[in-house]
Symmetry: C2
Subunit: 343 residues, 2 copies
Amino acid sequence: PKVAVLPGDGIGPEVIGAALAVLREVAPDLSLEECRIGGCAYDAEGDPFPPSTQAALVEADAALLGTVGGAPDSPWNRLPRPQRPESGLLRLREHLGVFANLRPVQVMPGLEHLSPLRPEIAAGVDLLIVRELLGGAYFDPRRERGEEAAFNTIGYTRAEIERVGEHAFRAAQERRGAVTSVDKANVLEVSELWRDTVTAQARAFPGVTLNHEYVDSVATLLVTQPERYDVLLTENLFGDILSDLAAVLPGSLGLMPSASLGAGTGLYEPIHGSAPDIAGQGVANPCGTILSAAMLLRYSLGRSAEADRVEAAVRTALREQPTRDLGGTASTQELTAAVLRAL
Amino acid sequence: PKVAVLPGDGIGPEVIGAALAVLREVAPDLSLEECRIGGCAYDAEGDPFPPSTQAALVEADAALLGTVGGAPDSPWNRLPRPQRPESGLLRLREHLGVFANLRPVQVMPGLEHLSPLRPEIAAGVDLLIVRELLGGAYFDPRRERGEEAAFNTIGYTRAEIERVGEHAFRAAQERRGAVTSVDKANVLEVSELWRDTVTAQARAFPGVTLNHEYVDSVATLLVTQPERYDVLLTENLFGDILSDLAAVLPGSLGLMPSASLGAGTGLYEPIHGSAPDIAGQGVANPCGTILSAAMLLRYSLGRSAEADRVEAAVRTALREQPTRDLGGTASTQELTAAVLRAL
Ligand SMILES: CC(C)[C@H](C(=O)O)[C@@H](O)C(=O)O
Ligand SMILES: CC(C)[C@H](C(=O)O)[C@@H](O)C(=O)O
C-alpha cells in the first residue's frame, strides 16, 4: 500500500520524522512518498497545495500530514488568502472529500497528573469528537470582504449533516452508545436544521441514545464533567474550538491524533498546530502524529493489530520519557526511541 | 434612581430575590420595578418581551435580569422563534442597544480549590471578556431556514467592531494593559476585518498592548495558561462560547456576573442559564446575580463604594457558606443571609 506523507511547516517535519520511523518498524512493506503542503509548498512551487502533491495523492491509499502555517508575523499571512498555508490544508481536505474528522481524546490511566484539570475530573475524559470538516463557514461560497464590512455564512444542507452524522452514530455503536449533538439551536436556524436532521437520523440507530446540547454549555461541561461525553457530533467551526479544548485535557495538544474520512483516501494528522516557536529544536511532542499513523493503519489499511501495538508503545514511552510540553525533558528523538523500544 | 428588575424563568426569580435583598440593604433609595421577560412573559402576555416591559424600561436607569428559557423539552422551544424565551432576551439587548458585554472572571484567592483546574493553574484566572453583543450571527438579516438547507451569516461592520473595541481598550487601561483580540482570521474574512480594525484602533491606546489569537487556541490556553489573559475582546458567538468556558473556571457558572453596556440603560445579568432542573428548590447559587447588582451600582449608578462592599461580602459569604454547585450545602437563602450579615 501507498501512503502520501506531507510534513508541512513548523514542527511538521520533526513529528512526521518520528511517525515514519514507527511506520517503518511496524509496517515495513508500506511505500511512503513525501510531498509538499502549506507554506513550504508555496515557497518551493508557488502553491500551498501544488499539482505535484495532487498527483502523488491519486495513487495513495492514505495520507499522513504534519502541520501547516507560520508564525503570526510570517510573510505567508500577508499573501492573498488562496496562497496561504491554511488554504493548502483546506484544499487538501476538500480534494480528498474527507467530511468526517474523528478526534478521539482520552486521559490515559496513570497520566491524569498531566491534565490541567484536577485528576479526579481528568480521569473521566474518554470521548470522540466527530467534526464536520467540509462545510459551514469554512467552505462558504457567499464569503465577502469589503473595506467597511465582511460576511461569512455558516450554511449546511441536510445531506451534509447526515453523512457526518452517520459516522458519529456508527462510532457510538462501537463505544458507549451515546451521541451528544452540539448546536446553538436557541439562536441559529442552521442549528435547528442540524438538530432536526440528527434527530430523524437517530431512529435508524436504536441502540444509540442521542441528546442535544448548546455549544456554550458543552464548552463548560467538557472541563467540569467530561465523563458525560462519549461521542460529540458537531459542525466545522464549533468542532474546531471544542476539539482543541478537549484535546488539551490529557495534558498537551501534542498528544492527540485525528483521522479525516470520506469516500476515498483518508487523511491523518495531529491536532496541534505548527508551533513555529519551537520548530527545528527537536523538542516537539511527536505522539499526536505517531498516534495519527496508528489511526491510519486501523482505518485506511485495516491493520488493527499493528495500530494497537503502536498505541500501547506510545503509552509506555510517555510514562518513561515525557516530553517538555508534559513537564518532562525528553526530546522528540528520545521519545521516538522509547516508542521503538517499546514496540 | 429607578432599576427595572426582570426575574425571568427557571431559577431567575430565586437569584433575583437574593440580589434584591442585597440592593435593598446597600441602596435603600432605589426604586425597583419588577417586569416580565422570557417564557413567563409569553405565558402571561403572549410575548417574551412584552410592551409592558418595554414601557417600564423607558424610565429605568438600569436593568437587572435573572435568566430566561425552559428545559430542553419545554413547549416554549416549539413556539415560532420570535416567541421563544431567548428571543425576548435578544430583543431586550437590542432594545437597550447594549453592544458591549463585560464578563469579569476571577478565581478568588482562597477559593482555588473550587476550580475544575489544578489549583496552581486556577490561581492565574483574572480576566475580563468583552463580548460584542448585538452583531454577528445573532442579529443576521440574511438568516434562512429551508427544508433542505439553512444559513446564518456572521457579519460585522468596521463601526460595530470599533465601538466594542473601545470598551476593551478602556477596560485594559484600568487593568493590566493587555488586550487579546480573538478571531479565526486564518479562515474567515470577517475575522480579517475584525483584526484589521482592532489593529488600527490600538494606535489610539499607546499604553495598551494588543495581540491576536485564534479562537481555537484561546479555548485551550484558557484552561492551561489562563494567566496569559487580561482583556479578551471577541465577537458575539465566539464570546458566547469562551465566556461560558472562562466563567466556569472559578468553580461554577453560578458565581459570575456580567454587564452589558451601550449608549443608555445598562443591563446586568448572571452568566448562567435558567437551570430548570433545580428551579424552585431554593438551592441556586445567587452570587452571579448579586455580583451583577454590584456591577449595576458601579457602572450605571456610579456607586463604587457600595459595589466594593457587596463584592467583599460575597467573598466572605462564599468562604463561610458555599452553595451546592460549589460542593457546599448552603441554600440560596442561607448564602444570601451570609452576604447580608457580612455587609
Ligand atoms: C489550520 C486551521 C485551518 C485548522 C482548522 O481550523 O480546521 C486547524 O485549526 C484544525 O483544527 O485542524
Ligand atoms: C440564552 C442565549 C441566547 C444567550 C446567548 O447566547 O447570548 C446566553 O447563552 C448568554 O450567553 O447570555
